[in-house]
């Protein structure tokens, strides 16, 4: 019962920490849109966390390059578990048109476990809300947390 409470509480209160891993900034602007009054994700308990130590949901945007990879790994290590990772935008998912770039470090899920993929260049805020809903569904299905 305690585990159920823990899971239910986590699914209703995901605090976002947002890592810009060498993006072109479009995804980041769409993430900011997500937090504006028009979409208002605080309805679902989502809040922007000031520090990775407070976060539950890590949003990674941009194609992860060799220099920024170390920072992404460090931020991921600093998030208290259990947490959810979302790759936002085509770059974080696959590298998109930077796939042949000399400094591309590979898609995000090569380095850290990714739970939700939110495609698009940039993804619409509606797509991100759908991604969050999928993350919540995934959390609810998990047996051990």
């Amino acid at each position: 019962m305690l585990k159920g409470l823990k899971k239910a509480a986590l699914a209703r209160s995901l605090w976002i920490y947002h890592v810009a891993a060498s993006p072109c900034n479009n995804c980041d602007i769409e993430i900011l849109d997500l937090l504006t009054p028009r979409f208002d994700v605080e309805r679902f308990g989502l809040l922007l966390a000031p520090s990775p130590r407070h976060a539950d949901l890590l949003l990674v945007t941009g194609m992860v390059n060799k220099k920024v990879l170390d920072r992404v790994l460090r931020v991921y290590a600093q998030i208290p578990k259990p947490c959810v990772v979302a790759a936002v935008g085509s770059c974080a998912i696959s590298g998109d048109l930077f796939v042949d770039s000399y400094n591309f470090a590979g898609p995000l899920d090569k380095h850290i476990p990714v739970d939700v993929y939110i495609g698009g260049c940039p993804p619409k805020p509606e797509a991100m809300i759908l991604g969050v809903v999928r993350a919540i569904e995934k959390l609810k299905k998990l047996k051990d947390l």
């Binding site: 308990g45 208290p80 578990k81 947390l145």
Partner: protein, 315 residues
């Protein structure tokens, strides 16, 4: 005054202490978020959101940063929680059960209020994070800024009532005469104490020590999991306690001896105070620490001293 140990523990832990204050305090944070959302034309979080947040944080990992003294880093939030529980008990007991208080509890309240910034400074300094240390130094400066006007505001009502130092006696004075707020000196004292409490809660425009966008949470930056839950709970309880503090000392308490509708209307006083706090919070930008110091040491201090002088001549 003849209280058994059992009753003292009941007061401290269940009602009106820890349990009651934490539930009402978490509800207050929901009111805060909902009113903020409505001001920004949003829908806002559901009613149980603060409880979800609290239980979620209880279920997460806790990190202790490398090089941080474990006992102080993890112990400081617990001291804060304990002191706010005692504070709310002392404030509420004399309103619910007049005669159950002890002499000089006004001074105890002042010292317990000082515990919250001290605990935040201790925890942040122990976290071995330079940004937290910056938050701690700002919290310290802010505390020095608002403490003197707060003392003058309380001295005003003590002088006005003819030297009463017991919360129950101060309430009795207000019930037989009039609430301090309805006199010139009391109104000035209320305004300065209100602004000091806004800074004590760390709300905009005085959230300089936490400043999410600037120093990433400052004093609470390194906390995670259950310890962060304790800190958030302490803040929520402090929110409720501050509204009770202002009601009890300046507005005749939320429970007047008159029966009937006044009884229910009295409960709206703390709510009116927090709505005012939320409105100020949502319509002001964050000040810099030097601006906050200047504001408290010039405008608010002058206001509170003016109130004190008016009280000495009996206005």
């Amino acid at each position: 005054m003849n209280m058994s140990v059992g009753w003292v523990f009941f007061y401290l832990l269940v009602f009106p202490g820890f349990l009651f204050t934490s539930v009402v305090g978490l509800f207050y944070t929901w009111v805060d978020r909902k009113v903020t959302a409505r001001i920004q034309f949003r829908v806002g979080p559901p009613l149980l959101q603060p409880f979800y947040d609290f239980f979620k944080l209880l279920g997460k990992d806790t990190f202790v940063p490398e090089g941080a003294p474990r006992s102080i880093f993890l112990g400081a939030p617990l001291i804060g929680l304990a002191s706010v529980s005692v504070l709310s008990t002392v404030l509420l007991v004399s309103n619910f059960f007049p005669g159950q208080a002890f002499a000089g509890d006004l001074i105890v309240v002042l010292y317990l209020f000082a515990f919250v910034p001290i605990v935040l400074i201790l925890g942040a300094s122990a976290s071995s994070n330079p940004i937290s240390a910056l938050g701690a130094s700002r919290e310290m400066s802010l505390y020095l800024a608002y403490e003197l006007p707060l003392l003058f505001a309380l001295a005003t009502i003590v002088v006005k009532s003819g030297g009463l130092l017991k919360i129950g006696d101060l309430l009795q004075w207000q019930w037989t005469n009039h609430p301090f707020l309805y006199s010139a000196s009391g109104a000035l004292a209320f305004v300065s104490a209100f602004l000091c409490m806004q800074a004590k809660l760390g709300f905009v425009p005085f959230d300089i020590a936490e400043a999410e966008q600037e120093i990433m949470g400052g004093t609470i930056l390194e906390y995670s999991g259950p310890v962060l839950a304790v800190l958030k709970l302490t803040k929520a309880m402090l929110y409720f306690t501050v509204s009770i503090f202002l009601t009890v000392f300046f507005w005749g308490g939320f429970r007047s001896p008159r029966e009937g509708w006044y009884h229910i209307l009295g409960w709206l006083k703390p709510v009116a105070i927090i709505v005012l706090i939320i409105l100020i919070k949502n319509t002001n930008p964050r000040l810099r620490i030097d601006q906050a110091l200047r504001f408290f040491w010039s405008i608010v201090l002058v206001l509170s001293i003016a109130g004190f002088i008016l009280a000495t001549v009996g206005l």
